[in-house]
């Protein structure tokens, strides 16, 4: 399309605060087309906030967001619609619609956005195919409440790819949180498979180092409002910065422990 070699998404100097809490501080990030970019960081550092800026669910206080070279952070809600048809989200809590069956959930983005250009049979067929891709053929009549955590996540991924034409970017918010290691592995493989078969750019937010290593082409670590590490998974795992190393090894920070001890007194 426009500039195929440039970054598909770019954040320039994005800052965001909630009241006195500064969550993002002058974030710069260029996301390359067809690569999986992983953002790691401890819970509550603002990873979800960062993702929400990419689909316009939050607006930056300062800074700009670009999609294929077009500035999108100041768009009206109506002007966002065509952008959002190219960027799909897999939410941390899946956000499947409880009142709809699995098939209706997956078909929803198509019935919503295509303004009746696709007839119902075609929509159903496409939705079924998306369910097949995530390995959930035959789950159509079930309701989200009847599914396990991993199955819900897979339905959410199916819904994310179920638009025609397929999305250019999928944002995954903690795709493996709350899943056992085996099911996490299924989701990790699925994310890789999406990249290969649907030819989509992935942005994955996670606090799981294993997911980061498996799905990431590039890993960045967010720490109190900015990135403190950036590189291939192997590079980040070998990083010298003690904050990155502690995260990668899953050890607590000295400050956490001292505050814990202070609480006990």
């Amino acid at each position: 399309m426009s500039d195929n070699d440039g970054p598909i998404i770019e954040l320039r100097g994005v800052s965001k605060s909630f009241g006195r809490q500064h969550v993002l501080d002058q974030i710069n990030l260029a996301i390359e087309t067809r690569k999986n970019t992983v953002i790691i960081g401890r819970s509550g550092t603002g990873k979800s906030v960062l993702l929400k800026h990419i689909v316009g669910l939050l607006r930056p206080d300062r800074g700009e967001v670009y999609f294929e070279g077009q500035q999108i952070d100041r768009l009206s809600e109506a002007a966002w619609v065509p952008i959002r048809q190219q960027i799909s989200c897999v939410f941390q809590l899946n956000a499947l619609f409880d009142s709809m069956t699995v098939l209706e959930n997956v078909a929803f983005p198509m019935t919503e956005n295509r303004r009746g250009r696709l007839d119902r049979d075609r929509v159903r067929e496409l939705a079924r195919r998306c369910l097949e891709i995530v390995g959930l053929a035959g789950f159509d009549p079930k309701y989200p409440a009847q599914l396990s955590g991993g199955e819900k996540k897979r339905v959410a991924i199916a819904r994310a790819i179920a638009i025609d034409p397929p999305p250019k970017v999928i944002l995954y918010d903690e795709p493996t949180a709350g899943l056992d290691p085996q099911r996490s592995d299924v989701i990790n493989k699925l994310i890789r498979q999406m990249q290969a078969t649907v030819d989509v750019t992935g942005v994955v937010v996670t606090h799981d180092m294993k997911t980061a290593a498996e799905v990431g082409d590039r890993v960045l670590m967010l720490y109190s409002g900015h990135f403190i590490a950036d590189g291939t998974p192997a590079e980040v795992l070998r990083a010298q910065d003690p904050r990155v190393r502690r995260f990668a090894q899953g050890t607590a920070e000295p400050s956490d422990i001292s505050s814990l001890l202070a609480e006990q007194e």
Partner: protein, 282 residues
């Protein structure tokens, strides 16, 4: 950091507490009107398309049809008890023939619309807030937006329309059942004459009484729909936040119904006076 003086002075603390509560109130008040404006703005587009009706009709079922039994029961009992309370006085004055007409007038003017409104607020309002609040805390509202669908159009407009149009219908049920309940107690328990009961109703109760009650209930329904949806959309995260929002919806809807009732009563009575003059009921 030195402690700020403001916080140590109890009076100043009270002042700042009140002013922040006021600020919050006005913030919510402003947001509520913007929210309502959006919901109303989408009514025309929702009513032309087939999809709008597909969203509206199920809501009518959940909000309206499911409320019919409880509202019919409330209406019946209120009609009955009004006869019970009025009988002795009217009997002493020799006016029992007119009791039915008085009861039905008060049902149409006040009790039917207000009770139907309150029952709708309790039964449907709480359920709406719980449903939308759950969707809010599980990111379903964000998911809608991220798919290019407007959550207000999808979720609020049909629910608002259903509440708005069904409140008058439910009021009719309350009025009807109240009248029948009154008749049953009047004739069955106290052995009153049946013919004058109906005669005086036709003589006393005017279309105006029925119409102004239904007109008011339109506002009650609208208020219930908007308040319940607004609270669901803006609840705090977690199950507790949803629960609190439900309670709050009911309380606010209830107070709004009574306030609107007073205000609309004043306006409608004023209009009646101007157009028709004074009307003696007995």
């Amino acid at each position: 950091m030195p402690r700020r003086n403001v916080m140590s002075d109890p009076l100043a603390r009270l002042g700042s507490g009140v002013s922040s509560a006021l600020a919050r109130f006005f913030l919510n008040f402003g947001r509520f009107w913007v929210f309502s404006g959006h919901a109303i703005e989408f009514i025309p587009v929702e009513l032309v398309g087939l999809r709008g009706w597909r969203r509206l009709l199920p809501q009518c079922f959940y909000i309206g049809t499911r409320s019919v039994p409880v509202i019919m029961m409330t209406g019946t009992f209120i009609g009955m008890v009004l006869i019970v309370q009025g009988w002795a006085q009217f009997d002493a004055a020799g006016l029992t023939d007119r009791l039915g007409a008085i009861v039905v007038t008060s049902l149409c003017l006040e009790l039917g619309p207000v009770l139907a409104g309150v029952m709708l607020a309790g039964r449907a309002g709480g359920a709406l807030t719980a449903e939308l609040g759950t969707m809010n805390v599980t990111e379903q509202l964000l998911a809608l937006r991220s798919m290019g669908a407007d959550p207000i159009r999808h979720l609020v407009t049909p629910r608002f329309l259903a509440c708005l149009t069904l409140a008058p219908l439910l009021t009719c049920y309350a009025n009807l059942m109240g009248t029948l309940g009154a008749f049953v107690v009047y004739a069955g328990v106290y052995g009153g004459d049946t013919e004058p009961f109906w005669y005086w109703i036709t003589q006393t109760v005017q279309v105006w009484d029925l119409g102004s009650g239904l007109f008011k209930s339109l506002f009650f329904g609208g208020a219930i729909g908007l308040v319940s949806c607004y609270n669901g959309f803006h609840c705090d995260p977690g199950a507790q936040g949803v629960g609190q929002a439900c309670t709050q919806s009911f309380v606010i809807s209830f107070i709004l119904i009574l306030m609107l009732d007073l205000f609309l009563g004043l306006v409608l009575n004023g209009l009646y006076d101007v157009w028709y003059g004074f009307r003696p009921l007995i």
